[in-house]
């Protein structure tokens, strides 16, 4: 019975400012499964799309930071709820994209959801780890607080289609940044699906923007865009990363390159945070 029924296929679009447009260039590119079967014609983002995404991210950033840390945590946790409730769908996407066995794909999704939960719990704690009151030698109350850099560009890893995506985009979001993410070029569909879930997770428009397409084409725009405060170069090879880092230097961007002990260190949480220190006199 069900074999006779034709299924309704999904068009994968970009995520910009809480909406799901096609590329303004009208282009798409063919994405295949790990085994080479046709999966979808995914939107192929242009430089203009990247620009629009940056505008959206900038527009959303001060409102995201104005929310209480508690509320930010609730929003991220809601994404975990959405992802968990649709875990089978995510697992299927990961299975096809990465060529994993069903069991391994499910395990990957489990880890990804637990990672979202991990980040949800950081929003109202990171200040207690990275901040401090400083005992200066004088009658001053001196305290340091971590504030977000602003808009962060993320070049997602190419091979790990969901776990690495979650890890890379939620870290800057958890500390108050907004993100323009370039999904894995060849395996974008799990990230695109998670992007769809942000729409039901109370993510404000512009908090997470996802562009799909050719990393080589859009990355330089992101790296050189002066209204982007930081960039994560995780998803490109060393040579290209060096090029992009050069471009990023033009506006003194914060640059994150993948490093050791990612899981145990808080490197990703510290990467796109600025320390703001206040002095206040103490006296009658």
């Amino acid at each position: 019975m069900s074999e006779d029924r034709l299924d309704v296929r999904k068009t994968y679009k970009l995520l910009i400012n809480g909406a799901f447009p096609r590329s303004e260039s009208g282009r798409s590119y063919e994405v295949t499964s790990a085994k080479g079967e046709f999966l979808a014609n995914v939107a192929q983002a242009s430089r203009k799309d990247v620009r629009d995404a940056v505008v959206a991210a900038r527009g959303a950033q001060s409102k995201w930071w104005d929310q209480s840390a508690y509320n930010r945590g609730q929003v991220i946790y809601r994404l975990a709820e959405m992802a968990e409730s649709r875990r089978d769908e995510l697992a299927e996407h990961v299975r096809l994209a990465e060529g994993l066995s069903s069991k391994k794909a499910k395990a990957s999704v489990s880890r990804a959801v637990d990672r979202i939960v991990w980040y949800a719990g950081w929003t109202d704690k990171i200040a207690q780890i990275l901040g401090s009151s400083n005992p200066v030698a004088g009658p001053f109350f001196n305290f340091s607080v971590p504030v977000p850099s602003g808009v962060v560009g993320v070049l997602c890893e190419q091979e790990s289609s969901l776990e690495a995506f979650v890890n890379a985009v939620l870290a800057p979001i958890a500390v108050g940044n907004t993100v323009v993410a370039v999904a894995s070029e060849k395996k974008p569909t799990p990230a695109a699906l998670l992007g769809e879930m942000t729409a039901t997770a109370d993510f404000p428009g512009g908090l997470l923007n996802i562009v799909t397409g050719f990393t080589g084409e859009v990355a330089p725009t992101l790296a050189s865009h002066e209204d982007v405060d930081g960039i994560d170069l995780g998803g490109v090879d060393e040579e290209f990363a060096n090029e992009l880092a050069q471009l990023a230097a033009g506006s003194i961007k914060r640059v994150l390159r993948p490093g050791p002990n990612e899981d145990t260190s808080l490197r990703r949480l510290r990467a796109f945070v600025e320390t703001s220190t206040v002095w206040h006199t103490i006296g009658q």
Binding site: A69, Y70, G73, Q74, Y77, D114, V117, W118, A120, G121, W122, T123, D124, K125, Q128, I129, P139, F141, T264, L266, H280, T281, I282, G283, Q284
Partner: protein, 487 residues
């Protein structure tokens, strides 16, 4: 003076009754002890009744846990710790706590009504403060369970084991959250004893723990009177005791565990000084004084029960304060427009009356709110004593009711000296528009919590606790984990 010319009465527009429905509580006629994941009868088959202090009607019958029941509960907690919880990863513990937080949010209206019925506090407060804060506390500590390596206590800090936790009647569900959330996040299992007069919200919480499918024995909730608490404190199978209540009982507990190796944290009484300088933002300061002492009927350990007002503005502040006190709406706690509810018990009411009588005897000037009080139930009209001095009993003893003592000071140094002239040290307030002076005063106050231009603000991220005889240990924040880790 000119008030006659304006001929304006505050609160003249009467609000019709706006009652919340008691039926939302869905109370059962009787509750058992929550041990090892299920409700069971106490070994003695003894029970007692919990009343609604607003009308003295009985709400439900709850079990009286005997020493044998305490033993059963501790054993269940120990077994759960050894076999299950100590082997549960932080990530999994985190998700249990997130579930509990969500369930509290989902059942928040029901919990708020139960809390108001059992405690006597206004529904507006249980709805807007107690229940949301309880959920938030679980959310906050849920997020620590999988991050203990980063909490500043070294890599892989270990829990203590079984925690025995005794909580008071003033914020029943919130106090249960303050105890359970950090303990569970750190990997301990718990035996919680709610206060005798307010057991119900903790028993609903037990149902929530079942809905969350928390493994049996991880949390046990046993109701009873002081003897149940004593049995828990004395039990050799408990690694940690956490107590919130009076300094008097805290002292006894500390004595009882002195020769054991039990870890102990205490959150005890206070006689908070709310310090008002002449440059305080006037209208907000009046609200802050009111919030400081009449919020929760004054049943708050950190209440601003002493107003220290700069002498140059004392008359004006007192005038505005009295005018504001008269506006407080005292009455049916289930009415959404009620500001001040019922006193929690006949015993507490008697204590308030006894201590307040000293104020009259000692010659302080008493102002009592002109509000009318219901016939049935336990009620005390908001009261302000002016012309109080440091040697008066009402300036030194914790009344734990809606009674404010007003003293004056001349200089910041004198304010600090007077504020610190107590064996307590829980909380203080400072009101001034001059930041440097506020900070100068704050760093000299001997108190665990200092509120500047606000009062009675709580947040799960903010450490709360006292110094000296107000106790030791902190609840809330990263610091709150320390009480439940072997570090």
């Amino acid at each position: 003076m000119s008030e006659d010319l304006t001929n304006s009465s505050l609160g003249a527009m009467a609000y019709d009754p706006a009652p919340e429905s008691a039926a939302i509580a869905r109370l059962k006629p009787a509750y058992g002890l929550f041990i090892n994941g299920e409700f069971s009868d106490p070994s003695s088959h003894e029970s007692f009744v919990t009343l609604n202090p607003a009308n003295e009607e009985s709400l439900a019958s709850v079990a009286q846990a005997s020493a044998a029941d305490v033993d059963r509960a501790v054993y269940a907690a120990r077994r759960a710790y050894d076999n299950v919880w100590s082997k549960t990863t932080g990530a999994e513990r985190s998700k249990y706590l997130f579930r509990i937080a969500r369930l509290i949010q989902e059942r928040s209206r029901e919990l708020a009504v139960v809390e108001t019925l059992d405690n006597g506090k206004p529904i507006r407060e249980s709805r807007d403060v107690d229940i949301p804060m309880a959920a938030a506390h679980f959310f906050y500590y849920a997020g620590w369970a999988d991050k203990l390596d980063h909490a500043g206590f070294g890599r892989d800090p270990k829990p203590l084991g079984v925690a025995g936790q005794i909580i008071p009647w003033n914020f029943p569900l919130l106090m249960a959250a303050w105890k359970l959330a950090p303990a569970l996040a750190a990997g301990n299992t718990c035996v919680l004893k709610p206060a005798e007069t307010t057991p119900l919200s903790a028993l609903i919480l037990a149902e929530i723990l079942q809905q969350a499918e928390l493994p049996e024995g991880v949390v046990n909730i046993i109701t009873g009177d002081g003897s149940t608490g004593a049995a828990l404190v004395d039990h050799p199978g408990v690694d940690k005791i956490a107590f919130t209540g009076s300094t008097e009982v805290g002292r006894l507990i500390q004595q009882r565990v002195a020769s054991s190796h039990k870890h102990l944290t205490l959150e005890l009484g206070g006689k908070g000084a709310n310090i008002v300088f002449e440059d305080a933002p006037v209208d907000e300061m009046i609200e802050g004084i009111i919030d400081g002492i009449f919020f929760n009927q004054g049943h708050v350990c950190c209440a601003g029960s002493r107003l220290l007002v700069q002498e140059s503005v004392a008359d004006e502040v007192l005038r505005r304060l009295i005018r504001r006190v008269d506006q407080l709406r005292v009455g049916d706690p289930l009415d959404k427009n009620t500001d001040v509810g019922a006193i929690n018990s006949a015993a507490q009411l008697a204590r308030i009356k006894e201590l307040t009588a000293y104020g009259d005897e000692e010659g302080a000037t008493r102002y009592t709110s002109s509000c009318s009080l219901p016939d049935k139930g336990y009620w005390f009209a908001p009261t302000v004593f002016a012309d109080v001095s440091q040697s008066h009993r009402i300036a030194r003893e914790e009344i734990f009711g809606p009674v404010l003592s007003v003293l004056t000071f001349r200089t910041p140094e004198e304010a600090v000296a007077k504020a610190n002239n107590t064996n307590y040290g829980l909380a203080c307030g400072v009101w001034s528009e001059k930041g440097s002076r506020t900070l100068w005063v704050a760093e000299r106050l001997r108190a665990g919590v200092i509120w500047a231009n606000t009062y009675n603000r709580f947040d799960p991220t903010s450490p709360f606790g006292g110094v000296r005889e107000s106790g030791f240990g902190r609840e809330g924040g990263r610091h709150g984990l320390e009480a439940y880790l072997n570090v």
